[in-house]
């Protein structure tokens, strides 16, 4: 069924490739099977599939547009609009409009500087090529102030949940649209200082009730003396405080840091070995083990780690070991995987994950997804 859906999308999209004389088109198919275990000791074999198309106009380097649609197996609404954007450049000004993503802050898995989409969630597919792919409808002018310095503003329209919209339509009710003051708007700047890339940003996050709006800010740093070193810090302040709160307390409660380091070594044989370690730190959170009920109530640990080792004996082959570690309760999810490119753009991959920890821990074999094996194939047409 999934395979037929993907083929349907593929043959729907392929004719579009030939309609645009000055454009280029890419269609990506990704088909997988996942063998997984749930909390009740049931084992499942689940199909998965994703088909996406992107195209860009080639006629002018100052104009770029793109659309990405994806079909994700298992959802009620199989067709998802991942990207739809236009970028236009005028000398030192670039305008971006549509559904896309802006890279604020630094971090491969943990990025406290991403105050728009919050790249600190532990819930993600460790086998993915990219972990953070959220996008929103936005308008952003980008001002280039030098070769490595820029200032960027952004206005993000309030997100509309398609599930809620569809449910309202099915119920014959008018959909509840977000109000204009629920928008998000911000400013982001970057410059180079003594060899280090420094970023700072501010974001206003509107809410349905005006007083519940938030103000977020971040600072991020990247330097590469011999290995990559990067760090981000961010926090949030509400528009209005409660009676018993102070700005200092709230600022500290919402403070989050992410740190990372990356190093790659190439051998004479052409093989390469790389290692990455990222840390996520919430100074105000718990350094003692929490029960399941406490975590469900919103408590979280103060410290998480993301280590990754990757070995490529040759360019067409790669093996990796990734993990999310919870040092506070000494639990972890570990993933071992590999991918292999045979013919051009055809990649086979396999990844297996295992949770290790005790029953009340964050990660535990007894949890949903405590064990899984995923195999798949992807092709870029």
């Amino acid at each position: 069924m999934v395979f037929r859906r993907c083929l349907f999308i593929f043959f729907l999209l392929v004719p579009g490739c030939f309609l645009f004389g000055d454009s280029w088109n890419t269609i990506t198919l990704d088909l997988s099977n996942t063998f997984t275990r749930d909390a009740k000791d049931n084992y499942y074999l689940l199909p998965g599939g994703k088909a996406s198309m992107s195209f860009e106009m080639d006629s002018d380097r100052n104009i770029k547009g793109g659309i990405e649609l994806s079909l994700d197996a298992g959802l009620s609404f199989p067709l998802v609009l991942d990207r739809l954007f236009i970028k236009a450049r005028f000398d030192d000004l670039r305008l971006t409009m549509g559904k896309t993503r802006l890279p604020w802050g630094r971090g491969f898995f943990f990025n406290a500087g991403d105050i728009i989409w919050d790249s600190t969630s532990l819930v993600t597919d460790l086998a993915a090529q990219e972990f953070r792919t959220d996008a929103s409808f936005l308008f952003s002018p980008y001002f280039s102030l030098g070769r490595f310095t820029f200032l960027e503003a952004v206005v993000l329209t309030p997100d509309i949940d398609p599930v809620d919209m569809a449910a309202a339509q099915l119920a014959g009710m008018p959909p509840e649209l977000p109000l204009s003051h629920e928008l998000r708007a911000g400013l982001h700047g970057q410059t180079k200082f003594f060899g280090a890339d420094i970023e700072a940003a501010y974001l206003f996050e509107g809410a349905h009730v005006i007083d519940e709006a938030d103000h977020k800010a971040m600072v991020s740093l990247f330097l590469s003396p011999y290995m990559d070193l990067y760090a981000s810090v961010s926090s949030r302040l509400p528009q209005s405080l409660g009676d018993s709160e102070s700005y200092g307390e709230v600022f500290y409660d919402n403070l989050q840091f992410s740190f990372g380091t990356f190093y790659s070594h190439s051998f004479e044989s052409g093989a390469s070995l790389s290692g990455r370690l990222e840390t996520l730190l919430f100074p105000s959170k718990e350094f003692k083990a929490l029960s399941i009920d406490e975590r469900a109530a919103g408590d979280t640990y103060a410290l998480y780690l993301y280590p990754e080792i990757s070995f490529a004996p040759e360019p067409i082959m790669q093996f990796f070991l990734r993990a999310i570690l919870s040092p506070v309760d000494l639990s972890t999810i570990i993933m071992l995987g590999g991918n292999f490119e045979t013919y051009q753009n055809l990649v086979f991959y396999i990844a297996s994950s295992l949770m290790l920890g005790e029953e009340e821990d964050l990660f535990c074999f007894e949890n949903n997804g405590g064990f899984s094996i995923k195999t798949g194939i992807s092709y870029v047409y």
Partner: protein, 242 residues
């Protein structure tokens, strides 16, 4: 008297031909090939045990240190590499993210080929990084060449030792061999075609062989090249990557 004069003239001519130092030969070769600005289009063909993989690109360069490469083939479309004075930036369009790379990562393979980031974006002038010495003459594919050996001045240079064969007539290199610290041959780059473009002799087709791998080679082909086009230094900036 006439005999003495003839010998003096012969010696003078001989000295003139072989009086060039290795540094002079390298400078003349680089002045032939490094232009103020250049734009080129080309492709990289990687052969391995599964067949061929073809990656196409456009490239802009200014002087010795600034270059921007944009990949135009389907799977790599939108990926860009920006080389500046002290760091290389790589742009991944799917993530809309720019990653600086430096140090040992400069020797990482570009799009699975036998070319590294260092090879692809070109390094600084050879005389800045290497001590050079002329070893003599040798014929490469029927072309008489100067054989020059180069030893790295500092341990940060990716290839500790290189040997290069420079065509005596046109001052373009015909063959390069790159060695490790232990004097082991790592890579060999052989020129297949040289063309005269706007008065300069430019290698247009070369084969790069990783000597530590079997059944693997990379062919680097320049299909179009233009020199001294107008490119401002501000073109080589983060803005151009997005």
């Amino acid at each position: 008297m006439k005999k003495i004069l003839s010998v003096i003239i012969i010696l003078f001519l001989t000295g003139a031909l072989f009086g060039q130092t290795a540094e002079e030969i390298i400078k003349r070769m680089e002045s032939n090939q490094i232009k103020d600005t250049a734009y080129s289009e080309g492709k990289i063909i990687v052969k391995d045990r599964f067949g061929e993989k073809i990656t196409s690109f456009n490239s802009w360069t200014k002087g010795e240190e600034l270059s921007l490469i944009e990949f135009t083939s389907r799977a790599e479309r939108g990926q860009k590499i920006l080389r500046t004075e002290d760091v290389i930036y790589v742009f991944f369009p799917d993530a809309e993210e720019v990653m600086p790379i430096g140090g040992a990562a400069l020797r990482d393979s570009v799009v699975g080929s036998d070319l590294s980031y260092e090879d692809m974006t070109g390094d600084k002038g050879l005389l800045d990084s290497y001590d050079v010495a002329l070893l003599g003459s040798e014929a490469i594919d029927g072309h008489d060449c100067f054989h020059i050996t180069m030893k790295a001045k500092s341990p940060t240079v990716p290839y500790p030792k290189q040997d290069v064969w420079v065509d005596k007539k046109i001052y373009a290199w015909r063959l390069v061999r790159k060695y490790s610290l232990s004097d082991r041959l790592i890579k060999e780059i052989k020129i297949n075609t040289i063309e005269n473009i706007e008065g300069s002799y430019i290698p247009m087709d070369m084969t790069i062989q990783d000597k530590l791998k079997k059944n693997s080679s990379t062919r680097f082909i320049i299909e179009k090249i233009q020199f001294n086009i107008k490119i401002d230094e501000s073109f080589f900036s983060l803005e151009e990557l997005y």
